[in-house]
């Protein structure tokens, strides 16, 4: 048995943390950190106890293990530490720090927790050290002070096994923080949130997982408001350990929150985590990439501008130009540039004709050279003069090519099928606007029910060749 007792500084701060945010519960963080060396970790009297004898072989012997424990970066700064063959001796040495005697017999009785309540009596009979207490007759001790004291003495000298409620990593991170001051505006909650995030970081490191979704909640002053709680859920596309990124996302979201009453408590909960894949680092200095990764960028843009303002395009098999592509929120999709989706295959098949397996430009197909590069979100209705469409600036239009007939969507019953399109597409040239993509609606556009416009169909501007 080899016990190590660790005691964090009373106001422990993370030494390796960039922004130096203090932890909410330094003792728990230290315990979680210690779990990487041994499963036998316990919290006793403001100290963390760990029993490492079973792990020695894994770490290559006792000395390398002890070196590793004391040299490695810990989540909190240590105030004291002590080592001993039993946990009670380790705790006693921890309390005495430098002046601890070598032999357990010489330890003062004040350091034995079980003896603390009987200390006045024991001192009066002249018993001040562990050795003196142990020399007293056992039967008398049990009768006079109860079995607890003798038990503790046995455990301290290794005559009985030492059992503690061992510390376990919670499956879900949940921490609560009482705010020192009443906070009126939401961005100021970031200060407290940073402490919670630092704690979360230790927990994630111990579990070797990255965060996917977390919830920051706050409790408001109940006297002022009917709904005294609020929360904010932040999601990331890829599991991350990077608390600076999560912090930026939280700050962007908090900037849009209004508090109706002063906040008193903050709590942070992990909703979803995933195992972190290992990263390969490069040997060469050139390969070190500077800057954020793409999903960090997309998440940050989406957090400030709104998810529907950061979009990527997904091809869709349809003949109506406005439905040939679907715009999706870019931050929701984890793998941004996967081309393996079914939709993409359908698209490339459609663009590239039949089985176009080669990687050469998919464009040696039929009519895609006639597609414009810009598409108008809403087709612009053109004025018609003398049966010919005019462009918005009033200049004449010369039809260059067409018609290309699109007739699709007649099967549409629901909203998601889109509207029926009966159109003839033309290329037209305008002196002012360059090459344009127009269409003329046939049969009054809908082709049914509305009857059709005898004076000729409407013309619309749908795309620009930029």
């Amino acid at each position: 048995m080899h016990w190590i007792a660790l005691q964090p500084l009373p106001d422990a701060t993370g030494p390796q943390d960039d922004d130096g945010a203090a932890l909410v519960d330094a003792l728990a963080a230290l315990g979680w950190w210690a779990l990487q060396f041994t499963p036998k970790v316990a919290q006793v009297e403001g100290a963390v106890l760990m029993e490492v004898s079973a792990s020695e072989r894994l770490f290559g012997g006792r000395k390398p293990l002890i070196d590793k424990i004391f040299r490695e970066n810990k989540p909190v700064a240590l105030f004291h530490y002590a080592r001993a063959a039993t946990s009670l001796i380790a705790i006693a040495r921890l309390q005495l720090s430098q002046s601890a005697p070598r032999k357990p017999d010489e330890l003062p009785l004040t350091t034995l927790l079980a003896a603390r309540s009987h200390l006045p009596t024991l001192t009066r009979i002249g018993c001040t050290t562990w050795g003196q207490l142990r020399a007293l007759p056992r039967g008398g001790l049990v009768r006079r002070f109860g079995a607890g004291l003798v038990d503790a003495l046995d455990r301290a000298y290794g005559a009985k096994p030492e059992l503690y409620p061992w510390l376990e990593l919670p499956a879900v991170f949940e921490a609560k923080l009482e705010l020192t001051a009443r906070i009126d505006n939401a961005p100021a909650l970031m200060f407290g949130a940073r402490r919670l995030l630092a704690q979360l970081h230790v927990w994630l490191q111990a579990r070797q997982r990255g965060i996917l979704a977390l919830e920051l909640g706050w409790e408001l002053d109940a006297r002022r408001q009917d709904a005294p709680q609020g929360q904010l859920v932040v999601r990331t596309a890829e599991p991350t350990l990077d608390m600076a990124h999560v912090q930026r996302l939280l700050a962007e979201n908090l900037a849009r929150v209004t508090l109706h009453a002063p906040a008193l408590y903050l709590h942070l909960r992990s909703l979803e985590t995933a195992a972190l894949p290992g990263t390969t680092t490069s040997l060469l200095p050139d390969d070190v990439r500077v800057g954020d990764s793409l999903h960090h960028l997309l998440e940050r843009l989406s957090a400030r501008l709104g998810a529907d303002h950061v979009l990527r395009v997904v091809p869709f098999a349809d003949h109506r130009p406005e439905r040939m592509q679907v715009w999706q929120s870019a931050s929701r999709t984890a793998s941004v540039f996967s081309t393996n989706s079914i939709a993409a295959h359908a698209y490339s098949d459609r663009v590239g004709g039949q089985k176009d397996t080669s990687k050469q430009p998919k464009s040696d197909a039929r009519s895609d050279a006639l597609y414009p590069t810009w598409l108008l979100t809403q087709p612009l209705k053109l004025t018609v003069r003398n049966n010919a469409p005019q462009c918005a600036e009033g200049g004449p239009l010369t039809l260059l090519a067409g018609p290309q007939r699109v007739e699709a969507g007649w099967w549409g019953v629901s909203e998601k099928d889109g509207a029926c399109a009966l159109r003839d597409y033309f290329l037209a040239r305008s002196e002012q606007m360059g090459l344009l993509w127009l269409y003329q609606e046939r049969l009054g556009g809908q082709g049914r029910a509305e009857g059709h416009n005898s004076s000729g169909a409407d013309w619309y501007l749908h795309g620009l060749f930029a």
């Binding site: 130009p321 663009v351 414009p372 590069t373 930029a466």
Partner: protein, 258 residues
């Protein structure tokens, strides 16, 4: 004396460049291409957009995401794919205010994965552009800023400023041409505008055929044996759009009657 730079020469290649895809333009740019890690300003009229024609060949040449900030319209994927740019590389950021667009640009330039940033900034001050220029040069990204023609008289920190107009010089040999003024480059000023083809090769070939056939509105149906066409475009395959006669379709008649 190879190590002496004369003022009437173009600047030496300082940074990496990406070829523009237009040989005439490459010849007039320092190091022969769009500079990587520098701000490039494209001035154009609001009504006559030509940015894709100018930038698409270069973007198609490099890989990686391209961020569009404040694009005036939706980029049309099939049309871009036809010219060689995979639309899945595009990321569109729509932001109303200039401040938001600038912020998005700067964030994108800092991202290590993004290859190029295209920003439409109608109203922007020189000091804001300088900030973008700094970010682009620090992180080595392609950065194009599209601005209106009115910005021509303003000073700008851009390393390269081009003004593109499709109106002057419109037709040469029956083909549309773009007139490109290089307002500022690292080297002597260029007095004569460059003339670039205004259409992609296949589209131009297609239009040439229809023009030859004369009447408007023409029906595009290039004969396979059309030898002139093959001459005009070696690699281009012209679309065959078979027109349906307006009166001849049975389905149409029933629909109209219903």
């Amino acid at each position: 004396m190879p190590s002496v730079w004369r003022a009437n020469e173009l600047a030496r290649p300082v940074d990496a460049v990406v070829a523009t895809g237009h040989a005439a333009l490459d010849a007039q740019l320092p190091a022969g291409g769009w500079p990587v890690g520098a701000l490039v300003e494209v001035l154009q009229s609001k009504n006559n957009l030509n940015e894709w024609r100018l930038l698409l060949p270069a973007l198609a040449r490099c890989s990686g995401p391209v961020l569009l900030v404040g694009a005036p319209h939706q980029p049309f994927g099939p049309g871009l794919a036809a010219q060689g740019l995979d639309p899945q590389r595009l990321l569109c950021v729509t932001a109303q205010t200039t401040a938001q667009r600038l912020w998005a640009c700067e964030q994108a330039l800092r991202c290590s994965d993004v290859t190029a940033v295209l920003a439409w900034l109608p109203q922007v001050r020189p000091e804001q552009l300088r900030r973008l220029q700094m970010a682009a040069s620090t992180h080595g990204k392609l950065l194009f800023v599209m601005r209106p023609l009115a910005a021509r008289e303003e000073s700008s920190p851009a390393a390269l400023r081009v003004l593109v107009s499709g109106q002057e010089n419109v037709q040469v040999n029956g083909q549309d041409r773009l007139a490109l003024h290089i307002l500022k480059r690292r080297g002597p000023p260029l007095e004569q505008p460059l003339s670039l083809p205004a259409r992609a090769a296949r589209l131009a070939a297609l239009l040439a055929v229809t023009r030859r056939q004369g009447a408007a509105p023409p029906n595009i149906s290039a004969k396979d044996g059309d030898e002139e066409l093959h001459e005009a475009s070696h690699h281009a395959v012209v679309a065959r759009i078979t027109p349906f006669p307006d009166h001849g379709h049975a389905l149409d008649r029933t629909a109209a009657a219903a």
